[in-house]
Each structure stands twice: as structure tokens, then as C-alpha cells.
């Protein structure tokens, strides 16, 4: 007889990876954008 799995472990793992991945992507994109635009302004002022 197969032991029933606790579905919540899989649900929590999926949500953690999904939310973590999405937030990391948003933060990385935003920081890269700010960094690139800051560098452009610095070069423009020189």
C-alpha cells in the first residue's frame, strides 16, 4: 500500500520558489535599470 503524501509540502515549496523567483527577477531588473540610467547620467555630465 502506498503512503499518502502531504500535499502541503509541495504547495509551500512551489509557492516559495515561484514568489522568490518572481521577486528576485523584479528586484534585479529594477536595480540593473537604475544602475544603467545612473551611469548614463554620469557620462552625460562629464
Amino acid at each position: 500500500m502506498r503512503e499518502a503524501l502531504d500535499h502541503w509540502i509541495f504547495v509551500i515549496a512551489a509557492y516559495a520558489i515561484g514568489i522568490g523567483g518572481t521577486l528576485a527577477m523584479v528586484a534585479w531588473s529594477w536595480l540593473q535599470m537604475r544602475k544603467a540610467e545612473k551611469r548614463r547620467e554620469e557620462v552625460r555630465k562629464k
Binding site: 502506498r2 500535499h7 518572481t22 544603467a36 540610467e37 551611469r39 562629464k46
Partner: protein, 239 residues
């Protein structure tokens, strides 16, 4: 369309649209995921694992939508030489790859309790994995072209050719025997109960807004890099 080809006009629009899309997308998808975790009912056959639906399905759609956007932008680049088209294609590859990866991981985590297997080499799963590799290859190719000064037409052609995989993913569950269920939602028709369908559609809107916000942020970063390089080159030539 060429009205938006002007980078200054694009930046004027993108400056306020980027945070608006990101914040509204995060709020909307966050609310749906909170519903999925706390308020959505367990399903009769799949139990609590059905809650992964609210994450898995929007990311699957946007993984495919991302490459469709790359293909459209590539076509615009090749036919009309729109100056922002190659930037839009490159920008769409990042969220497309991330959402495809989340779709594959969440699908695997759903498959274990639902099918008793983490992975099966069937049509849907394999074609989705191929899509992830296509994203990696596209990002590497576009990065190499920018770094080494090649033609932007090369990644554009790759973007168009890679679009062949999108109908294969879509029809894979109909063409081949698959553990993956056939589409529950088609145009104007759904086999899904409203307590799942409505939050799923709202969540898809939320994730789409995040996708749009990330595309705009990436486009702004790529455009700023190009403008910085051009100014530095002009200064070096003048010196």
C-alpha cells in the same frame, strides 16, 4: 508604430509605466496567491495540490507568451527595422525564461503528488523544457552580438525560428499521449469551476503586468547602456 520608435518618447512613457505595472502586478498576483494558499477549496481528486494551479498556469502561459513576444519583435526588427524592436525582444527573454523555469519547477512539484512522478519525458513537459533551453540560447546569442558587435538580425532570425516550438507546446497534449491534462480553458469555454477560474484569470493579469513591467525595466537598462557606450565612443573619438 514608428511613433514609438523615438527613444525619448519611449522613455517618457516608460518612466511612469514601469513602476505602475510592477506595483499593480505584484499586488494583484500576490492577492491571488494568498487566496490560493488560504481560501481556495481543495479539489475532489487532486486535494490541496491543486493550489499550485494559481502559480503554474499563469507562468506557463507567460513562458509561451514571452517567446511569442520575441517572435513578433523579431519580425518587426527584420521587416520594419524598428529601433526598439531588438531591445524589446531581448527584454522579453528574461521574464520569459524565469516564468518558464517557475512553470517547470512548480509543475514538477505538482506532478509528484498528482501523478506519482517528478518528471516524465512526454510531449508537453519536454517541449516546455526545450523552450527554457531556447531562452538560454537566445540570451547568450543576443548578449554575444551586443558584446562583439554582430548584426542584431542574427538573434531576430533565431527568435522567429524558435517560435516553431510554441504550437508544439500548445498541441502536444492533443497530438501525443500525455500524463498532462488537455487544456481546461479555451476561447469562451472552460471546464473549470468559478472558484478556480476567476482567481486564475485575475492572477494571470497580475503576472502579465509584472512581465510588462520587467520588459520595460530591461528595455530602459539596455537603452541606457547603448546610449552610454555611444557617448563614450564619441568622446574617445573627439579626444
Amino acid at each position: 508604430m514608428h511613433g514609438f520608435a523615438n527613444p525619448t518618447r519611449f522613455l517618457r512613457l516608460a518612466r511612469w509605466l514601469t513602476p505602475l505595472l510592477l506595483v499593480s502586478g505584484l499586488l494583484l498576483s500576490g492577492a491571488v496567491l494568498a487566496y490560493g494558499l488560504t481560501a481556495a477549496p481543495a479539489e475532489r481528486l487532486q486535494g490541496d495540490s491543486v493550489r499550485i494551479l494559481f502559480l503554474h498556469v499563469p507562468t506557463a502561459w507567460l513562458g509561451m507568451g514571452g517567446w511569442t513576444a520575441i517572435a513578433i519583435a523579431s519580425l518587426v526588427e527584420l521587416v520594419w527595422r524598428h529601433p526598439l524592436a531588438s531591445l524589446a525582444a531581448r527584454a522579453a527573454a528574461v521574464p520569459g525564461a524565469v516564468f518558464t523555469a517557475i512553470c517547470l519547477i512548480s509543475g514538477s512539484l505538482w506532478g509528484r503528488p498528482a501523478w506519482g512522478a517528478w518528471w516524465r519525458w512526454d510531449g508537453r513537459l519536454t517541449s516546455m523544457l526545450v523552450l527554457l533551453f531556447l531562452y538560454f540560447a537566445y540570451l547568450a546569442l543576443a548578449g554575444a552580438v551586443q558584446r562583439d558587435g554582430g548584426s542584431s538580425r542574427i538573434p531576430a532570425i533565431f527568435g522567429l525560428v524558435g517560435a516553431v516550438n510554441i504550437p508544439i507546446i500548445h498541441y502536444s497534449v492533443l497530438w501525443w499521449n500525455s500524463l498532462h491534462q488537455p487544456p481546461s480553458i479555451s476561447a469562451g469555454n472552460s471546464a473549470m469551476a468559478p472558484e478556480f477560474l476567476i482567481p486564475l484569470l485575475i492572477g494571470t493579469v497580475g503576472f502579465s503586468l509584472i512581465f510588462g513591467g520587467v520588459v520595460l525595466a530591461r528595455m530602459r537598462a539596455l537603452l541606457a547602456d547603448i546610449q552610454t557606450e555611444a557617448r563614450l565612443r564619441r568622446k574617445a573619438e573627439a579626444a
